[in-house]
Symmetry: D2
């Protein structure tokens, strides 16, 4: 697959809804010779909030890349009370992977990474076990093992955070990482940690969701990718999907069928994140898909 | 569509798992010249329970219809500690409909009834309002209005039950009936009342599930048909289905999209019930589909 | 449900892609005090075409309703070589229904119409049989029967067209209408006739798709709503959906399961049409959903 | 995951429908102290054919393993004109993988193999390129490269077949293998070669289905796993699944989204094959799932 070498900028923004927001942004781009490639906007009438994602060609854009943020902030952003993010598509996002012992999401991510499906760098993998190290090795991605106990958790997390900072990680993916991150850890990466939960949230929060699903006798199971917040399994949902099950499926079957949903839903969330298409707001997400 | 005039018997049975169950039943049928049309069995290894549904041709069956239950019970059922139900497909099941003000499930059911899709009698409709009476009238189905207040609930339910008994109702369908039936009512119709809940249970139990779904920011909504038990929204699940939603959908959109799922899932449960394909056990169902 | 009384205008437009399109349109609205409620755009890179849907509040809009089309055309549309449609949301679209003998889509549509789910007028129903007249009667919608034979087809279609014109119909819905419209008929309503085909197009075009699906042994069946063109079952697709089937399903089961998909997919297409969210282009559709 | 060490036998059988089939088989098992673990039967009324899958415990079974086939054939099979297969679950099926340059199905299969999700041996991988060899190497599975040209095709296929015979392969999986096998090859492995076709068959047979799907403007794409027959993309379908697409998806997006469907559908077919749950008949399959 071709390398992703678009020379574009992407703005994600939100602010209280008000007149003239789209015109203001599109004028800013048009007046400076920025060709809009795609534009998506959304107004949440209940919250009275405006959301927008716009991507434009940088080739003939009059404002130098390193000044766009300042110009946009001064001319548009602060005027309308916006929060915004500016991304450049020729800067490859840097993602850290956290894994434990289950390999299905891990392989799925590595396959996409390796085949060029995603424009991403994976500078490091972190695990609380060394079980999956042999899978990472052929990809030449450093695999760091941080065993976690009650006693060493704070210390180990500090070391992990240091490593993430050192590698200038943009976001973290918990690919069935079986440890709960401390609030301190989570606070340092607001809406930058993507988890896959093996249930159709908000059903079956917490541990052993397939056992609970079996016990309840549901006919459909699911998986949910979401940003991690201090509130366990309560963060903004990015993507969900489901699979049919029947009385014939015991817990092992639910686990087996669930894995297929988990890996697809997690990779879908990563794809959206890499495309800068997710805008979390309150406890929800706007997904410009 | 052709009338359903199969001359068959259906046995639904369950008991502790043990050797020779299938052979015992199929021998019983074979020895008495009963041609098996379909046979489904299931063993729940966790509960160590055996479940089976078998349908056979009655035309040349050696045991007269009115003695089959006695013969089966004596020769097979009691020997293996079974619970069983015997149904004859040329007896049309009798279903009572409970409705309130929302018409989507109601129309859906009436269309299937009227077009001959289902082999069912609907001797009466019960509602706590008269809003939908005009819809029932062209079908010539008696529409009984029982307004419910805190004060008259026991009395009104007693009248409803009397009516159901008088009409020899086999099962009741709550087609978005917006009253909670009392435990007394429910106890009289164990696993004979089918409800449609407008969420993907066990998520969003109770009132206003679409509001809760909106608030949580889910990306998929669902509907669940289940047998009513004394425990609200906790009865055995018969069928579930889902629909995708996005940040663009406000609560009205969730309600609109949800209705399509509700009506299909409720009618699917009714279809399974009419085919004698559902066997509730503990708080789960075996659906021989 | 509340009546849909938004006072908004909707522009659907497309033209060869070029710089400044979004800015030009949003400036036009902003400069005339039109508050944008929603804006969706799409660029088809392969065809190098730009598509856009924008809806704005008319309350304080400086240009009178009856002049908007002229002003937009002069200031924007012709300048960029656009094709556009202008709609006002307080004008209720007028839809004609064509039916034959199958009632599932018909009921589904009438229920939505009657419950206020859709903002639509249905001034007339046309059928080649009178079988379903009794269903329409309680809704007080005139039901016109035009039996079609080889000999009278041209004449009958002319009468139908006259009726559609007289009632100022915006679009026609073929709700399992079992006649093929002549090219002459179709030509008079370009992209204004919505059909439901009972297969997952382009598989199983033409007659008896469920029989073909059964014969092929597929594990999934589907339905497709599309605009009718002179090329049978080849028009632009608006919506599709599917249902799982198995070896247990005979042709009757496929038909039964398929009906549920058909009615939901057809009603979804009608909903999109009523929202002015479908923009056909070449043999495809842009659906601003 | 635990090793699959059930000591059971599985019989798959089909024959013209007639009375007493189920009783005959279950008596045979019961009389010889074989505890039935699961039994599924199906009657195709149109073809008047009976199908059955039964699995039973071998521990106390009176007939020695190596004589079961003879006893069953003599006492039951030939009497009823059956075709049957006998499998033992403690014999691990042997699967050969054919790949070319695309790795998504390949990784997916290797992950399941490696994590113990499947009870399978993969004695060899065959490819017409060496591109994916480095992926197979860490798993220590011999990777044989057979470049195919028009000139050498017969010769190379003969070598491949020899290798498959030598390794006593039970079935072959084409994991996006981009060569069409000759009729001679296919004839040697009737219903033993599973292919994944990257469309929702029978739509878009042959080459470049995503391009065709894009051109047709479909709203749903799919994938189909099927047994390979001499008739290209026309063999018995084992499993299918779909994914939603929109006007926003260009061909690259269809390919990307399609890959997720392909790998899940192919692995689902392999799972069914390993469980001995698929019974092809005419050009259809009975899937005892």
């Amino acid at each position: 697959m071709e390398k992703h070498t678009k020379n574009t900028a992407i703005l994600l923004m939100h602010c209280p809804d008000q007149k003239g927001l789209v015109a203001a942004v599109t004028d800013f781009l048009q007046n400076n010779n920025g060709n809009v490639l795609s534009l998506d906007q959304h107004v949440d009438r209940q919250a009275d909030q405006f959301f927008m994602r716009v991507e434009w060609q940088l080739d003939d854009f009059a404002i130098p890349k390193d000044k766009i943020d300042d110009f946009f902030g001064t001319l548009i952003g602060r005027k309308f009370g916006m929060k915004w993010q500016l991304h450049f598509s020729n800067r490859t996002p840097r993602m850290a992977l956290f894994v434990s012992k289950m390999s299905h999401c891990f392989y799925d991510i590595l396959q996409r990474y390796n085949s060029g499906e995603w424009n991403v760098e994976i500078p490091l993998i972190i695990s609380n076990h060394d079980n999956l190290k042999y899978i990472a090795d052929p990809f030449n991605i450093p695999f760091h093992v941080f065993p976690i106990t009650k006693e060493n958790k704070a210390e180990q997390e500090a070391a992990e955070i240091a490593l993430l900072r050192k590698h200038e990680i943009d976001f973290v993916v918990l690919a069935r990482y079986m440890q709960i991150l401390s609030d301190d850890f989570v606070d340092q990466f607001p809406n930058q940690i993507i988890n896959i939960h093996h249930s159709f949230l908000p059903a079956f929060k917490g541990a052993r969701p397939y056992h609970s699903a079996y016990k309840r006798g549901v006919k459909i199971i699911g998986a949910t990718s979401h940003y991690v917040t201090a509130d366990l399994d309560e963060g903004p949902i990015i993507a969900q999907d489901v699979a049919s099950v029947s009385h014939k499926d015991d817990i092992h079957d639910l686990v087996r069928k669930g894995k297929d949903v988990e890996k697809v839903v997690l990779s879908q969330a990563i794809w959206l994140q890499l495309q800068r298409k997710v805008l979390p707001y309150a406890n929800r997400t706007v997904v410009f898909d």
